[in-house]
């Protein structure tokens, strides 16, 4: 199942992917062995370079644009029933032991997407692939959250809100068109669903006065309902169009109600409370039996993020699986 990552310029997309990769490596090598991941060679080259840099305390300087247009992982989640089977059955391919989810970050412009929906002609095949996404991950840069209306940050956030809202409407429109097309061709498709996931990036840079004004405490809650309320309180103020279009999916016939919220932060070095000169450096954890020398980041949130997709991967509509299978076969034939 495809999954798309949307984020503003300098919202921390590459850092997010680097930290996700870091969490995948750690989580995927745990004792339980119920999560595995795979990355195509090109993506692996980029991600391992980013990962190495982070382990060396450096933020990634390279953006997706300079590297490749699609950066992807395949997440594999051990199916519950299969997990209980004897080992020798579990390891057989016919048992399909893992539900998979293709997680991809794309470097395409909003204009290209809009042009495709208007004309039906994609300037790049990647756009259609992106629009097939069932999971849409939206990065919201908390460092840009300000309640001072005459600041560039306020205006940037207004623009970003419009951009994301437009993209979400593009996704909804595409899904609805596909649904109608399938219905007309005699197929009985499931009503379209998109699973949005919001990542509040650079959460450690969210100013205390902003939280205080909104009546929010500093820590992100654990309880699912409380997390939603906390995150929505921020989105309501800073990206209201996005939030309203997520909710509005329901009245447009594309359910986006299953939104989930995560946060991301990575600790940086400070010198006695002063801001560092130049690019900040990442704080790394000490060496412990379970690993060490890793960036000090919101690991639990990233695991939560990975685990969230387990539920979605198990729920993939059949027609998407069929389409993916068909695509894979077509790719083999072309090769």
């Amino acid at each position: 199942m495809p999954c798309a990552l949307l984020g503003d310029r300098a919202s921390g997309k590459t850092t997010f992917l680097g930290l996700l990769y870091s969490a995948q490596v750690k989580y995927g090598t745990g004792v339980q062995d119920d999560f595995r991941f795979h990355a195509p060679l090109q993506s692996l080259n980029v991600m391992s370079a980013v990962y190495e840099g982070m382990k060396d305390g450096r933020f990634p300087s390279a953006t997706l644009k300079e590297e490749i247009t699609e950066l992807g992982f395949i997440f594999g989640y051990l199916r519950k029933v299969v997990g209980k089977l004897p080992y020798y059955i579990r390891k057989q391919n016919w048992a399909r032991p893992f539900s998979t989810l293709r997680f991809s970050a794309y470097d395409v412009s909003g204009e290209d997407i809009e042009e495709f929906i208007e004309s039906g002609i994609a300037s790049r095949p990647l756009i259609q692939q992106l629009l097939k996404s069932v999971v849409v991950v939206v990065l919201v840069d908390c460092s840009k959250m300000t309640t001072e209306i005459d600041t560039p940050a306020y205006k940037k956030m207004l623009r970003y809100d419009s951009t994301v809202a437009k993209l979400l409407v593009s996704f909804q429109t595409y899904k609805k068109q596909e649904y109608e097309r399938l219905k007309e061709s005699g197929v009985k498709p499931e009503p379209p669903v998109i699973y949005p996931a919001f990542v509040l990036s650079k959460f450690d840079n969210l100013r205390d006065d902003v939280l205080a004004r909104l009546g929010l405490h500093q820590g992100f809650p654990q309880d699912k309902k409380a997390r939603r309320e906390y995150a929505e309180a921020l989105l309501r103020v800073f990206v209201p169009q996005t939030l309203s279009q997520i909710r509005g999916g329901k009245v447009a016939g594309v359910n986006m109600d299953k939104a989930e919220y995560f946060l991301s932060w990575v600790r940086t070095e400070t010198q006695e409370g002063m801001d560092p000169v130049g690019q900040p450096r990442i704080v790394r954890t000490g060496f412990r039996p379970e690993g060490g020398g890793e960036p000090d980041f919101a690991y639990d949130e990233y695991v939560h993020f990975i685990e969230h997709f387990r539920h979605i991967a198990h729920k993939i509509p059949d027609e998407i699986l069929e389409a993916e299978k068909f695509q894979a076969e077509a790719a083999v034939r072309t090769a």
Binding site: Y154, L158, R236, Q241
Partner: protein
């Protein structure tokens, strides 16, 4: 899809009105209560988001924005409401019956297009036929231009507008004589209501502020007292009576204002922003009126045959 045609005189605030209608939707559609939801269609997003950004930054629509925006298409829904008894019983549900889809059309050249049609020109312009096919008409009236009984209206602007709206209603009547929707819902929106002259209110013998939105009969009296003498031809046209199969519903009234900060030398006036309940920002405008208007239009949408 029900069509709402927005008509108004030059500088009556048509684009600002459409923008504030979108602002009200965004805010109601993202609030904690989650009672109202809306979805803007793909075709409308580009222009309406630009307008939203402008209003939320305290700016009135500039000429480029005005030129760019022609219409807005939205789906509006209220939780637990619908035509069937079941949908009303399921108070937490979003049933398809609770959703109405609208096309808001900004009319630009009321005088030119309509008079051409009335003088025998054929309707070659699809836009004019869209306007004439409207299910509801939001008739914007600039409150600052309203005159007192017996007084020469300022520059005769409101008199000319009355003639233009009457001509528009006549055009609708002629167009519908060929068939089509038989009922039209007129909605008067008194824009810039905070700038209405006190003597106009006194002459109409009404309070400074209109009755609450849910007191429709009192509001109708209030609105008629203010507009009846200023738009006599329009009101005559809207009066009940045989109109060749066309029926105008009883007009409803809404009041729009947006607080501004005084223009300084070389700088245009700005919209004043205020804190929202959730500590964000919004234009300081008559939000309740816009929320009530949306609810009214939703009702029109659910009553209009699909």
């Amino acid at each position: 899809m029900p069509q709402v045609v927005i008509v108004g005189d030059r500088d009556s605030g048509r684009t600002t009105f459409l923008g504030l209608l979108y602002v009200a939707q965004v805010q109601s559609g993202s609030d904690r209560a989650d009672r109202f939801r809306f979805h803007s269609t793909f075709e409308s997003m580009e222009e309406i988001t630009v307008l939203f950004q402008r209003l939320m930054s305290g700016g009135f629509p500039d000429s480029a924005t005005k030129e760019g925006i022609r219409e807005m298409r939205v789906h509006l829904g209220y939780r637990g409401r619908g035509r069937g008894v079941l949908s009303r019983l399921r108070s937490r549900a979003w049933s398809p019956d609770s959703v109405a889809t609208f096309r808001f059309i900004l009319s630009r050249t009321l005088d030119d297009e309509v008079s051409g049609f009335l003088h025998g020109s054929s309707v070659a312009n699809g836009r004019l036929s869209d306007i004439l096919e409207g299910d509801a008409m939001a008739i914007l009236v600039d409150s600052t231009k309203l005159g007192v009984n017996g007084e020469e209206p300022p520059e005769g602007a409101i008199e000319r507008y009355d003639v233009a709206v009457e001509a528009f209603l006549t055009a609708i009547q002629r167009w519908r004589a060929r068939g089509g929707r038989s009922r039209v819902y007129p909605v008067f929106v008194l824009t810039k209501f905070d700038g209405i002259r006190p003597e106009v209110l006194r002459a109409a013998k009404v309070d400074d502020s209109p009755p609450q939105a849910d007191r429709t009969a009192e509001r109708a009296k209030y609105g008629e007292a203010l507009l009846g003498r200023n738009l006599p031809k329009t009101f005559k046209k809207l009066a009940p009576g045989e109109k060749g199969g066309l029926e105008f519903a009883r007009p409803t009234y809404f009041f729009s204002w947006v607080r501004t900060e005084a223009a300084s030398s070389g700088r245009p006036g700005k919209i004043r922003l205020r804190r929202t309940a959730s500590f964000g920002w919004e234009p300081d405008y008559s939000k309740e009126e816009y929320v009530a208007l949306l609810e009214h239009l939703w009702g029109v949408g659910t009553r209009t045959p699909r």
